[in-house]
């Protein structure tokens, strides 16, 4: 005798299960759990927008409120993916506009977003709340104006009457009549009959629709409800600073605004100030470079509740009145935990932030060209710092000071101030990183650019910090050996993977042989993402990684002597990963074709700007190769320099 909980109970239980992994597991228990789960899943993460089609997602999950999509491969950040490769979001937005009218959140990374897409978002999703565009491109401030303005006309014709479920209710249409809003709601009663209700209300007022029975409840918000607009590191065509004036005067719900990527051009400052002043829930505000230092005080005084703040250009002639005004404004912000911006920072103005330093947990000084002594003074004021982004101007001495002052440090990123200079620009060596690894017991995540490294230093770091989860080391000159012993850095990185059992992400650099990959394959069992450049001797290296790293999801390789053998021998592994990128390696066109033919669930893309790969011998290596698993089959939005290696079935289908 089988009995189970009623659906509602299971649904309620499932609502406590938030992560995708767990949700996926739940859905595989049995068919009825699959059904229940798919109706109540509200959040979707698609790590590769080409792995699945919008239609497939919508079909399985009809009631989604939040979606996150990623487009281009990571190496696109370093210009290795030619322009026009793909990653267009419009097809997704168009599909979701019809299927998810109550979509609230869209988060995109490395996708091409056009003004048309942004306009469609503003028009289609009545209860839209969060838009995050991370490293995206293709849009201008015109698109942002559409987002700011939101939807003015609520014309929404509900056309699908095919499936009348008792209790189902919704908005039939709405229209503005002068400043009044006329809306018609519908509800399906227990006899499967459609009932309609007409209401007249004032613009901007929240409606609650009721009928005779109290269990019909329809909540309609008419105010543009955008909470978060985050343009993180996107490339925006800055046509006009006035887009920010498009937020209606009645709009007050902004919680988070990040426009730091908007280059050197002014956003209409008075509109920005007014916007900040009327949004009492604003907790994150990151300004762009064009906002001058003397304007910061006014902004801060209007938003003393800020938790995260990014300045604009932090440079001006030192004037006591400006300084004291600024310091006063900072001290009025009792909740500030995170600071960023600081473009071209002038050391004399840094003390203005001292009043808030003791509470700071995150500090991004990676655009501040300030030198080590000033940096030391600053970090010594921040005992609660958990996250620091800084330029190599901090030097070993600054990192030593950091190690002694900031015992709660979890994440450190040191960027190069002069990445293309042959000689080191600052006295930053492996010693700085060793000091931090010794002094900061909670250090988990490292990104470090430097000019020299030793195996001994890496071993010390590994032994001190077995709790590292992300370790990305970039020794600037490729193939640089241990500068003391002149040996490869295999043993050093080997120690990292051996000791740091929870290492999820690793980036290698320096002189490395196949041996480092043997260590990685043997020890890095939890590794999910590996980045390799100018390393290895033979296919054996790649084979070690593909056969040994059980948790590997993303592998990106450039300029390594890896060819066909390891790839073909581990073809099945590729279906267990999200993607593999290989550029300037030795994988032949023939091998790519073979892989494409034999692995129908992989999309094998050859990216070659020299022209069609079949105009060259099959043994000729391809320029770039991008392989990813997909249930959507080959894509059809490819530019002329991308060739899809078709499997036999689809080739027949197309012919």
């Amino acid at each position: 005798m089988a009995y189970s909980f009623p659906d509602e109970v299971l649904e309620h239980v499932f609502s406590f299960i938030q992560t995708d992994k767990d949700r996926n597991t739940v859905s595989m228990v049995c068919k009825s759990w699959y059904e229940i789960e798919r109706w109540c899943r509200r959040k979707i993460f698609v790590g590769n927008c080409y792995a699945v089609s919008p239609r497939m997602v919508i079909r399985r999950f009809p009631e989604v409120r939040s979606i996150e999509l990623k487009g281009k491969p990571h190496f696109a950040d370093f210009n290795l993916v030619p322009d026009g490769w793909g990653g267009y979001v419009l097809p997704w937005i168009a599909a979701m506009a019809g299927a998810y009218p109550w979509l609230e959140e869209i988060r995109l990374k490395r996708m091409v977003v056009t003004d048309e897409s942004l306009e469609l978002i503003a028009k289609s999703f009545k209860n839209f709340k969060v838009l995050v565009l991370s490293s995206c491109e293709g849009f201008s401030t015109d698109g942002l104006a559409a987002i700011a303005a939101g939807c003015k006309f609520l014309w929404w014709l509900f056309s699908d009457f095919g499936w009348l479920l008792p209790g189902k209710c919704g908005l039939l249409y709405a229209l503005y009549v002068d400043s009044f809003l006329l809306i018609m709601l519908y509800r399906v009663n227990d006899d499967h009959v459609l009932q309609t209700f007409v209401y007249l209300g004032l613009e901007g007022i929240i409606f609650q629709a009721g009928a005779e029975d109290s269990d019909v409840f329809f909540f309609l918000t008419l105010i543009w409800n955008l909470r978060e607009l985050d343009l993180r590191e996107s490339e925006v065509d800055d046509l006009s600073g006035h887009w920010i004036s498009h937020f209606p005067e009645t709009y007050t719900s902004l919680v988070s605004l990040n426009i730091s990527c908007l280059g050197s051009d002014e956003v209409s400052f008075s509109a920005l100030e007014r916007l900040v002043g009327r949004c009492p829930n604003l907790t994150t505000l990151r300004l762009n470079r064009a906002v001058p230092l003397d304007k910061i005080a006014n902004i801060l005084r209007r938003a003393p509740q800020l938790v995260e703040f990014g300045t604009g250009t932090y440079a001006a002639e030192l004037r006591p009145d400006v300084f004291s005004n600024l310091a006063g404004a900072f001290s009025s912000c009792k909740e500030l935990k995170s600071l960023s911006g600081f473009w071209d920072a002038v050391p004399a103005y840094l003390p203005a932030i001292y009043p808030v330093c003791s509470k700071l947990t995150s500090l991004n000084l990676s655009y501040a060209t300030i030198q080590s002594p000033d940096l030391i003074k600053l970090v010594s004021h921040c005992p609660n710092l958990q996250r620091l982004l800084v330029l190599d101007y901090i030097e070993d001495s600054g990192l030593e000071a950091l190690a002694s002052s900031c015992k709660d440090l979890r994440e450190l990123r040191v960027f190069p101030s002069d990445p293309f200079g042959a000689e080191p620009n600052a006295s930053l060596t492996e010693q700085g990183l060793v000091a931090v690894s010794l002094g900061c017991p909670k250090l988990q995540s490292v990104l470090y650019f430097c000019h020299q490294m030793t195996n001994a230093a890496l071993i010390t770091i590994a032994q001190n910090r077995p709790n590292l989860t992300r370790f990305r080391l970039c020794i600037i000159v490729p193939r640089t050996p241990d500068y003391l012993t002149l040996e490869p850095l295999d043993v050093g990185f080997g120690a990292i993977v051996e000791h740091c059992k929870n290492l999820k992400r690793l980036s290698l650099s320096g002189l490395l042989t196949d041996r480092v990959f043997e260590y990685i394959g043997t020890y890095a069992k939890r590794l999910e993402m590996l980045s390799v450049a100018f390393a290895g001797d033979s296919d054996l290296g790649l084979h070690h990684v593909l056969s040994g790293c059980e948790s590997l999801r993303k592998l990106e390789i450039r300029d390594c002597p890896f060819g066909d053998k390891a790839l073909l021998a581990n073809a099945a592994k590729l279906e267990t990963m999200r993607s593999l990128w290989m550029s300037s390696c030795s994988v032949s066109y023939g091998a790519c074709k073979l892989l494409g033919q034999k692995m129908p669930r992989l999309n094998v893309e050859v990216i070659d700007e020299r022209g069609p790969p079949d105009s060259r011998p099959e043994s000729c290596p391809v320029e770039k190769l991008y392989i990813y698993r997909s249930v959507a089959g080959p894509r059809f939005d490819m530019p002329p320099f991308v060739w899809m290696m078709d499997d036999e079935e689809s080739a027949l289908r197309l012919s």
Partner: protein
Amino acid sequence: MAKELETELRLGLPGGGTEKNEKKRVFSEISEDDENGKVSNNNNEKKMQSKSQVVGWPPVCSYRKKNSFNDSKASKMYVKVSMDGAPFLRKIDLAMHKGYSDLAAALEKMFGEALRDADNCEFVPIYEDKDGDWMLAGDVPWEMFIESCKRLRVMKRADAQGFGVLRSRETLNATSKNE
């Protein structure tokens, strides 16, 4: 005198008019003249890559490259663009365009609506240079133009004549500079 004629011919369209009649070419003055505008690649990425030996190495993301170091002056050249009769001011990044015809296409796209509404009159793009003088766009080589242009204005041809843009004189100056 001969020189003036030469340059006048150069500035006008070779065929003397609108060959493509379906699509009205508004900026006839500059859009056909590509001689001044040959920049082999306008891709800022490529400009930056030529500095380093290897593409994409060290792995500093392009956003960071554009927004820090000393490249900020090379990356963007925004100038304000106003158009007579249009209520809004726009901005255009000159560094993103290859030459005058590319610029003309961008301006047409930007002001498309307003241009088409304005009863068939022709427009000329003029710009304010470093010295504060208003010049007709298209006279000087593209590279020189983007260095000196502070802002652009799209003006009705009829008004331009009255505006005092002394074309011939400026043209002569430009050509003598070229020599």
